[in-house]
């Protein structure tokens, strides 16, 4: 069922050589800084500002509609945020230097070796999202903040602690990367078991130890592998491969971690809330979400948190409990988390359906922002005067229906596989997911 992509010499050469990746990094870093710059000195009108349009329309579209579903952590492989910090941390940009600089190089605290902090950062961004994604300066501050935090953490801690434990985006990319048809694995685990130096984790003359603090030999899921390709370069035994595989292969091994489970709830709830608040016809809700600090906003924030951390998990728990009753099963461990694996394809498809509407409606701004990135009257590609209009509007509803119904089928199969494994009826969980899909359809169509 898997097809090794690295068996093609060209693919392997492109991944193993540092230059292609570096060149992409440079372009990405330039674009990232350009977005920050335009946020600070460009027009404060979001829909005409490169920073807003490129981050929240173009990048978001590519990330959620293409990168995550098809390449998993593919974005992390080219994300420019760690580059400046790693330059300082490693003392080099390309290959490992002969003498490494002595920074603090601390290990990340054990208690924080989970994605709860990422759950927190994402929730914070989500609570303020109406302001962040409409105000160029705020977007620029958030982007710059991420860049500087990553630099600071590279100096204090070893490896990419920002990416792994803080980045609000990285958390959900990891969760949904499990569903992607692409993976980095080892060919033969026995080779790793006998490998003495484990340069993939510890680093060597030719490459760095895994920046994501993962031992490739133990990889069974995509969640925390950033596809940075360092292990491909350091492995002495040519034991690292990149495979094409069936979608959702990782979901066959249900997660037992509560932090990941809640990530799934956060993403599921946020997609539903955004579909209602941002794309719905209720103006008061939009104003409440935007008016940060007011009573209305506090109400919105409370409802947001209640849905994500209270209502959805409570109904889900109920569903799991009913399933247990139905099957008169003993109580296997981590039942809640294991069943929540089904929420991974469901949440991903909710986000795809939501983003389709948002992105197709606003795609026209990409053309104008390319030609006049700062709203200064430039016309670089002659498209600055293009009038706004939604694109592919007639396809939207059929596409969303397809995505949501397809997503539900995928979810149901995932829940059934979990049910088989834990010997608990998945039907109540399926009912929960079906109801959620019906609500989402009602909000979007």
């Amino acid at each position: 069922m898997r097809s090794e992509l690295t068996r093609f010499p060209l693919v392997k050469a492109l991944l193993k050589n540092r230059w292609p990746q570096l060149l992409v990094f440079i372009v990405m870093l330039a674009g990232f800084l350009f977005a920050i710059l335009s946020g600070f000195i460009g027009t404060p009108v979001g829909s005409s500002n490169f920073g807003i349009v490129f981050v929240w329309i173009a990048w978001w579209a590519i990330l959620i509609l293409v990168a995550v579903p098809f390449f998993g952590r593919g974005w992390c492989a080219v994300c420019p945020i760690p580059l400046p910090g790693e330059w300082i941390q490693r003392g080099a940009i390309l290959e490992p230097p002969s003498r490494k600089p002595r920074w603090l190089n601390l290990r990340w605290p054990n208690k924080l070796r989970n994605i709860w902090l990422q759950n927190l950062t994402f929730t914070l961004v989500a609570l303020f999202s109406s302001v962040i994604l409409t105000t160029p300066t705020v977007t620029a501050i958030v982007l710059a903040g991420m860049l500087f935090l990553a630099i600071g953490m590279s100096i204090v801690f070893e490896r990419r602690t920002f990416c792994r434990y803080i980045c609000p985006v990285g958390g959900f990319i990891g969760l949904y990367a499990q569903a992607a048809p692409l993976e980095l694995r080892v060919k033969d685990k026995r080779v790793c078991a006998t490998c003495k130096d484990k340069p993939c984790y510890n680093g060597s003359q030719v490459g760095y130890g895994c920046p994501w603090d993962v031992f490739p030999g133990g990889l069974t899921r995509n969640t925390y592998c950033g596809l940075c390709m360092e292990c491909l370069r350091t492995c002495l035994y040519d034991n690292i491969v990149v495979n094409a595989r069936p979608f959702a292969a990782d979901l066959a091994k249900p997660s037992t971690r509560l932090d990941e489970t809640f990530k799934a709830f956060i993403m599921l709830g946020a997609a539903m809330i955004y579909a209602g608040v941002l794309l719905g016809p209720w103006g008061a809700l939009k104003l409440a979400a935007y008016s940060v600090g007011t009573t209305a906003w506090l109400g919105y924030a409370a409802a947001f948190l209640a849905l994500i951390f209270g209502i959805l998990p409570a109904f889900f728990t109920l569903a799991v409990k009913v399933g247990q009753r139905l099957s008169r099963a003993s109580t296997p461990q981590h039942l809640f988390s294991k069943f929540a694996t089904a929420l991974v394809p469901l949440g991903l498809m909710f986000w795809v359906a939501f983003s389709l509407s948002f992105v197709l409606t606003n795609a026209a701004y990409i053309l104008t922002a390319l030609s006049d990135p700062f709203g200064w009257g430039w016309n670089l590609f002659g498209m600055a005067g293009i009038a706004w209009q939604p694109y592919l509007n007639a396809l939207l509803v059929p596409l969303q229906t397809l995505v949501l119904v397809g997503g539900l089928l995928w979810t149901v199969r995932t829940a059934q596989k979990v049910g088989t494994e834990v010997r608990v009826s998945p039907i109540p969980v399926i009912v929960f997911c079906t109801l959620a899909t019906l609500v989402m359809l009602g909000l979007l169509l």
């Binding site: 109406s130 016809p281 539900l408 088989t420 169509l445």
Partner: protein, 154 residues
Amino acid sequence: MSRKQWFLIIFAGLAGAVIAFAPLPVRVTPPAQRTLRVEANQFAYSPAVLAVNPGDTVTIELVSTDVVHGLYVDGYGVSVTADPGQTTRLTFTADRSGSFRFRCNVTCGALHTFMIGKIQVGSNILLWRALGLTILASLVAIILFPRPAKAQAA
């Protein structure tokens, strides 16, 4: 797979096709002239949900109550702009059924891109079809894989 399962799959496919595409008897209402007054302010329309019958000649009177706003109807591609104090009218024939969003097409502040209303022309048939497909999909999946006998290889 057993024959029973194959039958079920074929049945589900047919049922799905019926739900998705079957022409429905349309309740014909004599077309009427309808004038709907819609107030626009940052960042909402009031009323935000309009309902008309297919075939109606719809006139939307757009009254802006703070800054310049527009109203663009998805699916119809028609639009109108109004300044405060200058009501404008948009007339079109509601010849496509379904639910369409209408949105502001004159940048009107931070939440401009989210200033959205809905116009329902007849019933929102695509939503009903989608809901039907969803329930069918989940029922079929439950019946198709009723009681997983043994744990499959992970």
